[in-house]
Subunit: 342 residues, 2 copies
DNA sequence: GAAACTTCCGAAAGGCCTTTCGGCACGCTA
DNA sequence: TAGCGTGCCGAAAGGCCTTTCGGAAGTTTC
């Protein structure tokens, strides 16, 4: 962890470069930034001097002039939430390409901390802010008075004049049922997580709608409790007890699906021959290690992060937001738990 | 996503505040920053003006003067790696308390991108850099010529003059065996992941050492292949085939442990009564949803992130690094897979 | 009543870069 | 040779804040 630069202890400034090349500050700046009004020979001399001093322009001063920092704040409510990470990756990726850097702030679900971070971000003059929540339930808006554009990702803002992007859970529920129907299942049940979650409600709406369109009813009631493997096991046990003839199960998450499959195996049911099971989230660690591998709905979270980034981009550039909640398409990933593979 | 601030379109500057309060720039600055040489009444007037204009000092200008930005770069090799996230959280947490903000950069395992990000961070004049790898194998150093302190987390630098913090995998392997011994197991086997990984090697060293100290031999060879549930299942099958009397299994990861437990159940072995199984990583989604819940070794990654942050802190403040690879203690988390619970 | 302080405020410099605009020098044309 | 471009370069301002230091006003002391 040596601190000394190539030459000395302090970073070289443009002044140093200019002096070394024997030109003025202005000329050095123009030479390095590819402006014209500089003779090729002079430019060359400056560039060489810059390299020799390993000069890098101080972005701070640059930003001060430009009135733009080329930074964006990523305000998450909770890094632990596994939905946050892919979104973050997508955003970081989209920005990385455009020379924008990302400030990461984790409020850990605390409003005070969120305000504190928000203030810090504004002090640092970020060009925009992406707020990432861990649930798809609406969250309080940061407010309208902010001097920079804000986009809400995953958890939409409760203020319709804000810009939000969130996965289309209704379409996801639909997609799951349609897939089961396409594999010939007709007796379909739905086991999902905490009924308080918008995600659970929305997916259920989709499931019901798709079944209704096919002229079918759900087998049994929607079973809602928690997003855990344990619940998946327990619920599957109850379901099979009451409706032994079920042939398709839409699980509200991959964890639940794993529990369901576990119980099915214990009860001597074959997956997918006797019962098809489809999960949700396409969490690969779970989906790929399941026996059989799990068909699942993927919310395209990374894409969602990228979209959020693009919207901030646009808002920064031409400032024409498109307010409201935008529902992004989800994707079906077919594996062995719904279709027999040889 | 309104852009207008409380008053106008542009953020208020100190100048505006000074004018509004009827004082000079200098006085306004002193009043706001709590310097003395300002009469209480004047200070009050300034503060009110600042509030009214919702003035926030421009950190850029501030940093320009101070020669310090109060920012740190977090350079990860791969955000997908689940070990990176807790480290990141720990670091963000430690910094958040100290008014430092974090630039997140994901190089996605690409050296070019890493260099690119490194350069961007230096341009932004970060005060320090934390490099987070996704494996515990040594990684190439960023080099010695950097103008800011660097700390390597999880993946240590291959240059011993750098500062690195990484979990003590040897101690982890040891701890696992010692725990099994303490529950009365004597016929212990070890199933772990990819032999190319330092993590697999180090943990194995610890396992062997602890057994040797107890005067015992490993049951069968160390079984190394991949970090997957599938491998856990397969390996357990082979192991039980050859050594049906095994009574304790150290798994190299929680995923492997889950596979092992799966197979044990299929073969009619009870966990933990007949065979105790201990995992590694304490990945709660897996460990808590297992039947029975999984005893595991926790690498204290969040703590590791905090430690890395503290070291950067120190390096920034007094610049006395403590070079070399620092191995941080790991922790045993006891659950039902090793100890019978009623 | 003058000298010596104490209080408080403001002008100005400084940090690092970009950009504008005036002007020097050279080469070309008439 | 005088005049006019054209091509390059540099002085200076500007962006926003902090800090130093000089000085004005008010207060105390003898």
């Amino acid at each position: 962890m040596a601190r000394s630069g190539t030459g000395g202890s302090k970073a070289a400034t443009l002044n140093d470069v200019a002096r070394m090349a024997g030109v003025s500050l202005a000329t050095a700046s123009k030479a390095i930034n590819g402006r014209d009004q500089v003779a090729p020979a002079t430019r060359q001399r400056v560039i060489e001097a810059a390299e020799q001093l390993s000069f890098t322009p101080n972005s701070l001063a640059r930003s001060l002039i430009a009135g733009r920092t080329g930074t964006v704040g990523l305000l998450t409510s909770d890094l632990e939430g596994r939905f946050v990470i892919p979104i973050l990756m997508g955003a970081e990726d989209a920005f990385g390409a455009g020379q924008i850097n990302v400030f990461l702030c984790d409020a850990r679900g605390d409003t005070i901390r969120e305000q504190h971070h928000l203030k810090a971000l504004l002090n640092r003059r970020v060009d925009g802010i992406i707020v990432v929540g861990r649930q798809t339930d609406p969250r309080p808006s940061l407010g309208q008075g902010l001097p920079v554009p804000v986009v809400y990702a995953y958890a939409p803002s409760d203020d319709p004049s804000d810009v939000s992007v969130t996965p289309d859970n209704v379409a996801g529920g639909r997609l799951a049922v349609e897939h089961l129907l396409s594999t010939g299942r007709r007796r379909i049940a739905h086991i999902t997580g905490d009924p308080e979650y918008a995600a659970a409600q929305d997916r259920t709406i989709g499931v019901r709608a798709a079944l209704a369109e096919a002229g079918l009813d759900l087998v049994g009631d929607v079973m809602m409790s928690s997003w855990s493997e344990h619940w998946g096991r327990a619920a599957a046990g109850m379901l099979l007890d009451q409706h032994p003839d079920v042939d398709g199960i839409v699980a509200g998450s991959d964890q639940i699906a794993r529990g369901v499959i576990d119980t099915l195996r214990d009860l001597g049911k074959r997956v997918p021959e006797d019962v098809a099971v489809i999960g949700y989230d396409n969490w690969e660690v779970l989906a790929l290690n399941s026996r059989p591998e799990l068909t699942s709905i993927d919310a395209n979270l990374q894409q969602l992060g990228r979209t959020a980034a693009m919207r901030i981009f646009d808002a920064i550039d031409d400032g024409e937001p498109d307010p409201g909640v935008h529902h992004l398409p989800v994707r079906l990933v077919i594996r062995g738990s719904t279709i027999e593979r040889r």
